[in-house]
């Protein structure tokens, strides 16, 4: 792949080994790669020796990294190559004030001043409220009306602003504006003491605390040269799967509630609680917080806990099966789910959707299979047959993944006898001038953290990517020519993270 450096998931490399190529070469490499079924894992900017650098981590069946140096602007890849770049380029413009020239939709991502203190690309005064100077996209015409929803919503959910351009009940266009929860996570992670990193990462997205923290800890382990006991790896995988099941079940229940079909909503609500309780059995916290630490896990799994989890799974599995049958065989529910919010495979590939949203559209990518971490290399993969890209497919993928994850946990419980020791948060020193990228399949899809250390071993750049970063555009596209009354259903079928996106 000349000039693209192949790397392994969670393997640290010297920063000097990352190819630094001229921009033209960089553009050609990336464009060629992305056109040949390549996807972008990370694409971000950082400052090095006073100059702006761009770094891209891309994947097909392997991970590759390449970087280049740019000035205050560069020709947009979104304009010349693929929509897969579009959010990343907007993020680069927002974070570092580097303009992607000819970007077709250069709009702020999260609404904050850039890190370099250079004039704002968007001309915004950030003392004003979102959206600042930005005029929302509008469709003109007598019959067109605009509906604005949020950022404050009726339910207890996160803030986000949705603008619909409709003719009657039909949606022409949906524009999603986020950024209301921007906390500056990436910069915070480079500033705080090492021992706070796992705690902050657990708070990036509250429903993905195990996933994000796992990415962080794997990166730190790699940079510090820590090894993890096989037993601890088993516990981590179990925690990640429990998180996946709890969220999928909660969402199936919410989908059911959104179409006013109450019984499964109530049953799934309870069952979700049971899985959160299992996480508590495992680590003392219902959301799996404070379990994963660099070097292992904070709590060991003893036979008593194994027994509790085994028994509970035995009890819950048939219940889940029954409630799923109730939900998926009900004709009125099928009528709502099928052909609603369809994202065709071509569209999903163009946008680079990940996780169940991508798999429901036929993109067969699961980071647990392609880039296995922990013990996933030894475990069987899941296959889903329903790939029509509608709400029904997304719900079905969730159902299959729940069953698959239960199977995985059962398998892992049998391995629980493996040696392990408890880890405490320790002061660790990181390899200087190093780079690492970690990729894990969180319950929503591909999570990725990227760390770069400086000459003193301090973290110079911490880049976080939640799967929602890819998938929000998918939600916007799924609403095209749908009924506006189906928006809540489509939204729930994706169930993307606001704070994971806002960082």
């Amino acid at each position: 792949m000349g000039n693209l450096l192949q790397i392994e998931n969670g393997e640290s490399v010297k920063r000097s080994d990352i190819p630094l190529v001229p921009f033209d070469r960089f553009a050609k490499l990336l464009s060629d790669f992305v056109r040949k079924d390549g996807f972008i894992v990370q694409f971000f900017a950082f400052v090095e020796d006073g100059g702006n650098r761009l770094l891209a981590v891309v994947r097909n069946s392997h991970l590759y990294v390449v970087s280049t140096e740019v000035g205050e602007e560069f020709p947009s890849f979104t304009a010349t190559c693929s929509e897969k770049f579009h959010m990343f380029e907007r993020e680069i413009a927002e974070q570092f004030g580097i303009t992607p020239v000819n970007h077709p939709w250069l709009k702020m991502v999260r609404y904050h001043a850039n890190y370099r203190g250079v004039p704002d690309v968007f001309g915004n005064d950030y003392a004003e409220d979102i959206p600042g100077k930005y005029p929302y996209f509008q469709v003109e015409g007598e019959a067109v009306h605009e509906v604005a929803v949020g950022p404050v919503h009726a339910g207890i959910i996160e803030p986000g602003h949705f603008r619909f351009q409709c003719a009657g009940e039909e949606v022409f266009s949906l524009e999603i504006q986020l950024g209301y929860q921007h906390r500056g996570v990436e910069n915070l992670l480079t500033e705080v003491a090492m021992k706070r990193l796992p705690i902050i990462c657990e708070g990036i997205a509250g429903d993905t605390s195990v996933g994000h923290n796992l990415c962080c800890c794997q990166a730190l382990e790699s940079l510090a040269g820590l090894s993890v006991d096989p037993g601890a790896r088993v516990v981590r995988a179990i925690a990640l799967e429990l998180e996946r099941i709890a969220n999928h079940i909660g969402d199936l229940g919410a989908l059911s509630g959104d179409v006013a079909f109450n019984p499964p909503a109530a049953y799934f609500g309870r069952i979700r609680g049971e899985f959160l309780n299992l996480l508590q059995v495992l680590c003392g916290n219902r959301f799996g917080k404070s379990l994963v630490l660099p070097g292992g896990v904070s709590k060991l799994m003893n036979p008593e806990q194994v027994k509790i989890i085994e028994d509970k799974l035995k009890e819950l599995e048939p219940e889940i099966r029954h409630v799923c049958d109730l939900l998926f065989t009900s004709q009125t529910v099928q009528a709502r789910f099928e052909h609603t919010g369809t994202v065709a495979k071509q569209m999903a590939e163009d946008l680079g959707l990940v996780g169940y949203s991508g798999r429901a559209s036929g993109i067969d990518y699961d980071a647990r299979v392609t880039f296995p971490t922990e013990v996933y290399g030894l475990l069987p993969a899941n296959r889903n047959e329903m790939t029509k890209g509608d709400v029904y497919s997304r719900a079905t993928v969730r159902r299959e993944e729940i069953m698959h994850s239960i199977h995985l946990i059962k398998t892992l419980l049998n391995k629980s006898g493996e040696a392990s020791s408890k880890t405490l948060m320790q002061e660790i020193s990181l390899q200087p001038d190093a780079f690492v990228v970690t990729v894990n399949e969180g319950w929503r899809g591909e999570l990725s953290h990227c760390l770069m250390t400086d000459a003193s071993g301090k973290i110079a750049r911490y880049k976080v990517k939640d799967p929602s970063f890819h998938n929000w555009t998918g939600l916007a596209m799924s609403l095209r020519n749908q009924e506006i009354s189906d928006f809540p259903l489509c939204n729930k079928s994706f169930n993307l993270s606001y704070c994971g996106f806002d960082l």
Partner: protein, 305 residues
């Protein structure tokens, strides 16, 4: 005297029955559900609160709740609950009364548009559309009943010389009417599968979204009005299902309210076993009811004469 006792019982007990729907739904969901008297508590809570008015609204906004409540009470005054003669009655009252209900809707829609919110406009458009379709069914029912009883008043339908009865010569046709009226009941009262009274999702709402801006006592009036409207449709159905003799007097009431409770339980049952329809399927659903009644009316041409 009996008439006044009967209407008083109805007005006081109407908020009880929606509690039954909630109980049935809770039962299906494996929950305990709220107490049966929940709606009374809600009303008390709302009446104690103050009202908040948006600065964009005018007097029209305040008129909506009052007119819709008045419509709900008025139609009950004319209805022979449990075959007890209604407080008021005149020939042709049904036509007036259904339009009194429609006036209530008109003012609710006007109040919703008065807020200038895009949600409320959307809800108003849906409500107006589906309400118009339901009207077709109601008037088909009135035509059919006219052919059966030669009268145009609720009093005459159930207490007149020629009462509507399942056991009468055209009783079989009433089965179609019962189904059609139940569909109308679900539509007019924003129940599943047409609307979801429990949702918090503004974009999917029909009726609820129109009253989002009302608060405190205004909201209480709207709630009360909707209880009476639902009670009226349930009572209408109950009287068709189980016609009672006017001679029974107040003793009819236990049977009547028993049937009414069954109607409410059926609503709860339907809401538990069905998901909502996609919005574009609702018109077909509502029109099904008119087709049923029109079909019944055509059949009367043959053998009622």
């Amino acid at each position: 005297m009996e008439s006044f006792v009967s209407i008083l019982i109805a007005l006081l007990s109407a908020p009880l029955f929606p509690g039954i729907i909630l109980k049935v739904k809770a039962l299906f969901a494996g929950k305990k559900g709220p107490p049966l008297l929940i709606k009374y508590y809600t009303l008390m809570k709302l009446f104690k609160k103050g009202s908040v008015y948006s600065t964009t609204t005018s007097f029209v906004f305040k008129l909506g709740p009052i007119v819709s409540l008045a419509g709900g009470i008025m139609i009950l005054l004319f209805f022979p609950l449990g075959a007890i003669a209604p407080v008021l009655s005149f020939h042709g009252d049904v036509l007036v009364l259904f339009y009194v209900l429609a006036t209530g809707r008109f003012f609710t829609i006007a109040a919703a548009l008065d807020t200038g919110s895009p949600f409320q406009g959307m809800g108003a458009a849906r409500e107006a559309f589906f309400g118009t379709l339901a009207e077709a069914s109601i008037f088909a029912v009135l035509i059919l009943f006219y052919r059966m009883t030669h009268s145009l008043s609720f009093g005459e339908y159930f207490t007149g010389a020629n009462p509507i009865s399942l056991t009468g010569p055209a009783g079989a046709l009433l089965l179609l009417v019962i189904v059609a009226l139940f569909i109308v009941l679900l539509t007019e009262n924003s129940r599943v599968p047409v609307d979801d009274p429990a949702t918090h999702l503004e974009l999917t709402m029909i009726h609820e979204v129109m009253v989002l801006d009302h608060s405190g006592p205004d909201l209480a009036l709207i709630e009360l009005g909707s209880f009476y409207k639902l009670f009226f449709y349930s009572a209408f159905l109950a009287m068709i299902v189980c016609p009672l003799s006017p001679s029974g007097g107040l003793l009819n009431l236990p049977v009547f309210y028993g049937i009414v409770v069954l109607v409410y339980m059926t609503i709860g049952l339907v809401e538990s076993i069905m998901a909502r329809f996609k919005m574009n399927l609702v018109p077909k659903f509502v029109l099904t009811s008119s087709i049923l009644v029109v079909f019944a009316a055509i059949l009367t041409m043959g053998f009622i004469k």
